[in-house]
Symmetry: C2
Subunit: 221 residues, 2 copies
DNA sequence: AAATGATTTAAGCAAATGTTTAAATTATAT
DNA sequence: ATATAATTTAAACATTTGCTTAAATCATTT
């Protein structure tokens, strides 16, 4: 009864993912996807009912993958500071291995806000609240500057996303090749990690001086 | 010989700007634009030769406007710190009054990198070098942490853009109305200004304690 | 092997798209 | 006023689009 359904289905999804990421929803055509998959274009509607449905499937899977990584980090039994560092690391890794992902997600957010909002709402309850609680505790303990969860998440996401959003521009403007860019991205990751941690965590001079040496030395006159 | 060319031309550009901003290049149709302008759709090709050319015109004008503001700030005879603050203020203002502008620009960067790159290259030589020089001087004087110009510009742009890129998501996720969002954006502006300035400028305890009171107080144990 | 149901294909449909055409209208110069 | 050139319009053109159809192919069951 079944020949190799899952195989073709996967081929279509793979092709769709690639083409949608590259050209966006409107920019991609069903024939583009079929060609990329090396399949008849009617198959697209046989397995998924429409371009819209195929897109939604691919999009949700991709977002799922992204959130899964974040959720894993958020659930780890580690300190808030370690969590922040790992979240930044995770985002950098994700977007580095797939630079089109940011603009793809942001585009969908602009095209059909409700779609993304619904997915986020579902994922939110899982682990974000845990993070929020941990942040609040740290604030209560006077370890962290009093700041809204939302602001913190914005800081993380904006600083990790942007570098990859502007990758083409950066490489061109500053005459970089792929290696140069990776070096630059790595530097920037260190920089924003330091900046965000320094900003959020209220420095305990005794400890901070040993941990961050040069950065904090200047504050100890 | 001329009836009211410039008037119709402007009407088309206004309509195109609006529709392109809303739906992007592929998402917008020539008929959408004609309808928005209340004009026959053949006029679009009479004044601009093609959809692509119309888009390029509108896009370049919009980018010009954005850079003009930045250039003005960069040319002001003020300190580096004041410049940073004003740049952040300018970007926030620009994107606040036109939230679609970020995604629009980033989209074009993804769709046709060369287009944007050429424009930027032309604008770059004007005022950015001036900023770079001022930054380097400050670093030499030990006022500012040794950091690349590019990193600084990334910090500015990423933190100002992101909040507006994710506006729809933010408002929905955190149940905000337009006023709430504006308040949040204003808060975030203050926060990132403080964070970036604190990070870049090497604090002179004597002065900093008076300027930033609560933030730096903790560092003075 | 024959029958059945799942999968794949080629062909094409209806609508939409960017663009052109040729005629109609309007403004301007003589 | 009339001729001329600029502007505007309705209609249509050729492609491209998402999607459907109906026949062909393949795998599985009996």
């Amino acid at each position: 009864m079944m020949k190799c359904a899952s195989s073709t289905e996967e081929k279509i999804k793979d092709a769709a993912r690639k083409v949608f990421l590259e050209k966006g929803f409107e920019g991609a055509t069903t024939r583009d996807i079929a060609k990329e998959a090396g399949l008849n274009c009617a198959l697209m509607n046989y397995y998924f009912r429409s371009k819209e449905k195929l897109f939604a499937t691919v999009f949700e899977e991709m977002l799922q993958l992204f959130f899964q990584g974040m959720t894993t980090v958020l659930h780890k039994p580690i300190s808030l500071k370690e969590k922040l560092v790992e979240l930044i690391e995770h985002d950098f890794q994700t977007f580095k291995s797939n630079p089109s992902l940011c603009i793809f997600i942001l585009n969908e957010l602009h095209r059909a806000p409700d779609h993304l909002v619904n997915i986020i709402q579902a994922a939110k309850t899982q682990a974000a609240l845990l993070f929020e609680q941990q942040l609040k505790e740290a604030i209560d303990q006077g370890i962290v500057r009093p700041v809204n969860t939302h602001h913190v998440l914005s800081l993380l996401l904006s600083n990790t996303q942007f570098i990859f959003l502007g990758k083409a521009l950066t490489m061109n403007t500053w005459q970089m090749n792929e290696d140069d860019f990776n070096t630059y991205a790595e530097d920037h990751k260190q920089l924003i990690t330091q900046m965000i941690v320094n900003f959020l965590f209220i420095a305990d001079p005794e400890i901070e001086l040993r941990q961050h040496g040069s950065e904090s030395a200047v504050l100890s006159h």
